[in-house]
């Protein structure tokens, strides 16, 4: 029987946040790309919380944007509330978070994909991976059609053999009742890919008309909204915003949960997958933090054209009747009507240590993967990996150098390095504490850090590139100038200091010294800085931060210099470490298994000691000299 057969450069399996970025990157780099999805309606779906960004995730979105990805642009067009988090803290942890209109977000992304050249969208379930001699050759779909390509990017999210659970109810579907992908897992296993089983969960969606907001605290957006994308005109994001609402659980809620714990599939042992500790279900919170009298609950709109609202903080897999009791015990939710139940979802994913930092499989050439399939969690983490997998599939086809971002360049670099290097027993979430050089990896300088790279790849325009070069020049020039401006203890200076409740000067000082005072900033001192040039806001912001935190920044730069030394020492591919006589046995086993790409990565593998690294360095030098 004849089956359909088509040729493409690249197949992308899945159209979630990872799949969209991967497909867009490939198509924009001129490669014929086909993207598969079980349902075209579910492109860029947000099956859990209605937010983009948040602490450290906002950084990821900025970095995606700086490299030429789509997420930032898409949320800037579809957000309904926005907040800069942590503004009272240091600039490194300022983080943007927006409430999205979910269906608009999805619709807008779909429109972008549909209007991108070289990109084909196809509704079909991919059931088989085609591999010959350790090289990927394409995919097969449920209908028997084959799509031949030189690279495949797997972005299957939470759909592989997924099942949704609450109480004793099991639905063998993907999120939100969408069709699961039940065949691909077998084909992956046949090709030697090891799978893990992870679990996550989501709270119920409720009907806005059944909520009593008078018993809750209103949570408004920022007065002046900052955009995610460096390309968005700031004027375009000053919109009328929608509010979120804050309420709390109480002892009664906790009592209801405790009484019904035995009916939760998590506690009855029905769920096999490992769940994330950072977004615990309300059952987990009540059990693990039993001393807490109440937990916060955020009621968030899912969009402008729906009455559905999301109950942030109360994900659950308790049975339907308990969910009702539990939610109705919360102030303001006494008469709440559930539209969609809360549930836990289990799915197949991989141990990402099977991947190189390029996100290509070590064992199958041309096969890449990104997103929740790689054991991560979160829309932003997924999009970041999708973008990198897409770029690297394209670089692979073009025979160009792959994109590997190290830990000192970006949160994306930290994310991928952690995934491909460290043992991970739960869905991986980005956190600012994971970035050791976070003072350098701020959301405000993502463009300065990454846009030149994005330009070299071909995803950033010449115009944007030129502005980055100019911005760098302006910042440096102004920092140099400010460091050399001396100020006397004259009346104008003292008056300004007094206005800002700052101690008056006893002797002369420099402008830079004054900027370093906690109560002052670069902009505050404009009046007494006669020679100051006219500069755009984003340049002034960089000058202020660079001067204010100069000491800390220099320290981190020094640490980065040390870090790079090991990172630049490449290790050979498919190397047999058992021939390195003096390595300890555990180190030999781990190194053989995970085949790190450089000595820096090797040093981060658990079970490889500093002494092993010394031995490795000497051995490498020995090999190098023999050549």
């Amino acid at each position: 029987m004849p089956y359909l057969s088509e040729e493409y450069d690249i197949c992308v399996v899945g159209a979630g946040h990872a799949g969209c970025e991967a497909a867009l990157a490939c198509a924009r780099l001129g490669l014929q790309t086909i993207m598969f999805t079980v349902s075209v309606e579910s492109i860029a779906l947000m099956p859990c919380n209605p937010n983009i960004g948040g602490s450290s995730k906002g950084h990821l979105v900025r970095e995606i944007d700086a490299l030429g990805g789509q997420m930032g642009i898409n949320i800037d067009k579809t957000f309904i509330q926005s907040k800069m988090l942590n503004v009272s803290k240091g600039p490194a942890v300022h983080s943007l978070r927006a409430q999205a209109d979910k269906s608009e977000y999805s619709r807008h992304m779909r429109q972008t994909l549909e209007n991108t050249d070289c990109l084909t969208i196809r509704q079909a379930e991919v059931t088989e991976l085609l591999v010959e001699d350790g090289t990927v050759k394409g995919v097969k779909t449920f209908s028997g059609a084959s799509y031949h390509s030189k690279a495949v990017i797997l972005c299957t999210g939470t759909y592989l053999k997924s099942r949704c659970l609450y109480g004793d109810v099991i639905n063998y579907t993907g999120p939100g009742g969408l069709q699961a992908a039940n065949y691909l897992s077998e084909s992956l296993k046949e090709n030697g890919i090891e799978l893990l089983r992870f679990k996550t969960g989501t709270p119920a969606r409720i009907d806005k008309r059944s909520v009593d907001f008078s018993k809750m605290e209103e949570q408004k957006g920022d007065e002046t909204v900052v955009s995610f994308s460096f390309t968005t005109d700031p004027k375009d994001v000053q919109i009328d915003q929608v509010s979120c609402w804050l309420t709390y659980t109480n002892q009664n809620t906790h009592e209801i949960i405790r009484e019904n714990l035995d009916r939760s599939p998590l506690y009855s042992g029905m769920i096999e997958g490992t769940g994330p500790r950072y977004c615990p279900s309300i059952e987990d919170k009540v059990v693990k933090f039993s001393d807490k009298e109440r937990h916060q609950v955020f009621i968030e709109p899912e969009g402008l054209y729906t009455n559905e609202m999301y109950i942030g903080g109360m994900s659950s897999s308790l049975p339907e009747d308990v969910q009702y009791k539990m939610y109705q015990s919360v102030a303001g939710l006494e008469h709440v009507k559930i539209v969609r139940n809360a549930y836990a979802i289990e799915y197949d994913c991989i141990d990402p240590r099977q991947l190189y930092p390029t996100l290509e499989f070590k064992s199958i050439k041309g096969l890449f993967s990104g997103g929740q399939f790689n054991g991560s969690s979160g829309y932003e983490e997924a999009a970041a990996q999708g973008l990198v997998a897409g770029i690297n599939a394209a670089m692979f086809l073009k025979g160009r150098e792959p994109l590997v971002l190290d830990r000192s360049t970006s949160y994306i670099g930290v994310l991928i390095d952690d995934l491909v290097t460290k043992e991970n027993r739960e869905p991986y979430r980005m956190m600012t504490s994971r970035a050791e050089y976070r003072l350098l990896l701020r959301q405000d300088n993502a463009d300065l850090r990454l846009s030149k790279i994005g330009y070299e790849i071909g995803l950033i325009s010449k115009e944007r590139y030129d502005w980055i070069v100019e911005k760098e020049r302006l910042v440096q020039k102004e920092v140099d100038r400010v460091n050399h401006v001396s100020l006397g203890a004259n009346a104008a200076v003292q008056k300004l200091l007094e206005e800002h409740c700052s101690t008056p000067l006893k002797t002369g000082t420099t402008l830079a010294e004054l900027i370093r005072r906690p109560e002052l900033s670069y902009d505050d001192l404009a009046e007494i800085d006669k020679e100051r040039p006219e500069l755009p806001y984003d340049v002034r912001e960089q000058v202020n931060i660079n001067i204010k935190y100069d000491g800390y920044i220099k320290r981190q730069l020094k640490q980065v210099k040390e870090f790079k030394k090991l990172e630049n020492k490449k290790l050979p591919e498919n190397f047999d470490y058992s021939q390195v006589k003096s390595l300890r046995i555990e180190a030999k086993q781990k190194l053989n298994l995970y085949q790190p790409v450089n000595v820096g990565q090797a040093s981060r593998i658990s079970g490889v000691s500093p002494a092993d690294i010394s031995v490795l360095l000497v051995y490498l030098e020995q090999m190098y000299r023999k050549k």
Binding site: R277, Y278, Q296, G313, K558, A611, K626
Partner: protein, 463 residues
């Protein structure tokens, strides 16, 4: 703060002659400029010609530590091919240690085991044929320092450091949770609370550093192990040397089952005297443990005092002991000279001779206290002729651990400073993390996963 300029004592820790402290790395000259004073006080060593020698003093601020000769060696014509400074000082272990500590205080870090050799190789100074031996040096030194730094660290001290580290991790986890989930976790009033904690931790660390100056981290000195068959008089010797009635002395063979350890000072030479259980075929399980331990200590001994009961015959147990003494520095003590002799000095000599060994033999009586002075003189003689040397790795380990404690303390003081300067909270964790890493170097714990675990287990995050 981490630096790439390393320092170590390059000579053996004997009290003879000259000691050398070596510094290598980018900041070597910068550091020596800070601590070197020429006689007239005007010489700047970073400006002098390479491969020149300079007379002067090593000072810590106004305090003169030693009179020295300093060798300036500019890259690349040095052992490591980096800028190198060699400080030739007086050979006393205390002086060398003080100089090393000063060098570290002014910006160097203690070298990792085998690091000079490693650098020499990586920078192309040593040729390929020596690569294997470079790896061996790294491994041997590392094994030792692992043993001494982690295993030998006294239990209570290790627990103390772990406890301090645990408290720091808790604070980091709190700050990080609040940064990650600002809407669930508030930092109101946290500054004062953290300040209180830091002040407490600073004084605890200061106390630890003060105690490390009295050598309480690891016992330094010549590891002197007393061996012999049961009831040969080992415990009596221990008591005579230490002047204390510490070991249990009875006439029943096999009474010393635990290892007893004491420090003895012989005119400035520190001995770590270790009394062991008598070595024989042990029937008793408890005693067997003691014997195994004794063997272990013998392996690490710098000097062995082998006590033989002259009133009994040499037997197969002596032969067992003999095998353990191979390639060791030994003084044989023929005890019980007050009793009738079954074994004479000549018999002992010839007994050793057939094994190809030649050790000094002294006749003593522990019971009457005769011969103790001779033992002491013999030890001193062996030390000053350089025949026995101090196990310098322990001293190095102490210096390293002290430098980790000091670095942790510096980091905590930076946190204090940041709080006083009203820096935002995320800046506190930069230095808290450094403090934690420095302490982790001592306890052998790695930080990054600890934070994440603490965050999830102690603080309830949202969604």
């Amino acid at each position: 703060m981490k630096t790439n300029t390393i320092a170590a004592i390059a000579t053996a820790m004997s009290n003879s002659g000259i000691g050398i402290v070596r510094i290598s790395g980018e900041e070597a000259f910068q550091i020596i400029d800070k601590i070197y004073r020429s006689k007239k006080g005007d010489k700047c060593l970073s400006k002098v010609l390479s491969h020149t020698v300079h007379y002067g003093y090593i000072c810590d601020g106004d305090k003169v530590i030693d009179e020295v000769m300093v060798l300036i060696l500019k890259s690349p014509n040095t052992y490591t091919r980096e800028d190198t400074v060699e400080i030739d000082c007086h050979g006393g272990s205390l002086v060398m240690r003080r100089i090393l500590e000063t060098v570290i205080k002014y910006g160097a870090r203690p070298a990792e085991p085998g690091e000079f050799t490693k650098r020499a190789f990586l920078n192309g100074r040593i040729d390929l044929s020596q690569a294997e031996s470079v790896i061996d040096v790294i491994n041997a030194k590392n094994n030792f320092s692992l043993e001494s730094s982690i295993l030998q660290l006294q239990g209570s001290l290790k627990n103390k450091i772990k406890e301090i580290r645990g408290k720091i991790i808790h604070e980091i986890a709190f700050i990080e949770s609040a940064l990650d989930d600002p809407e669930h976790i508030s930092m109101d009033g946290y500054h004062e609370k953290l300040m209180g904690t830091i002040v407490g931790l600073v004084s605890e660390l200061e106390a630890l550093i003060a105690s490390s100056e009295n050598g309480e981290l690891l016992k330094e000195g010549i590891n002197t192990v007393i061996v012999g068959k049961p009831n040969a008089g080992k415990s009596s010797l221990m008591n005579l040397l230490t002047g204390k009635e510490r070991a249990i002395v009875t006439d029943i063979a096999g009474t010393t089952r635990d290892i007893l350890e004491e420090q003895v000072n012989l005119d400035g030479i520190t001995l770590n005297v270790i009394d062991t259980a008598g070595i024989r075929d042990a029937w008793d399980a408890v005693e067997k443990i003691g014997v195994d331990k004794a063997k272990e200590y013998l392996r690490k001994a710098d000097l062995v005092l082998y006590v033989i009961d002259s009133s009994t015959d040499l037997d197969e147990n002596d032969e067992k002991i003999l095998k353990l003494l191979f390639e060791k520095k030994v003084i044989v003590l023929l005890n019980k000279s007050d009793l009738e002799k079954a074994t004479t000095e000549e018999m002992v000599f010839s007994y050793f001779e057939k094994e190809g060994m030649d050790y000094p033999v002294l006749s003593v009586s522990m019971k009457e206290g005769t011969g103790v002075k001779e033992i002491e003189d013999k030890i001193k003689e062996m030390f000053f002729t350089g025949e026995i040397i101090l196990n310098d790795e322990i001293l190095i380990t102490n210096v390293r651990q002290k430098s980790f404690l000091q670095a942790a303390l510096d980091s905590l003081n930076m946190v204090k400073q940041s709080i006083e300067d009203e820096m935002p909270e995320d800046f506190y964790s930069i230095d808290l993390v450094s403090a934690c890493e420095e302490l982790g170097n001592i306890t052998g714990e790695c930080a990054s996963e600890d934070f994440v675990n603490e965050i999830f287990s102690k603080f309830c995050m949202g969604k």
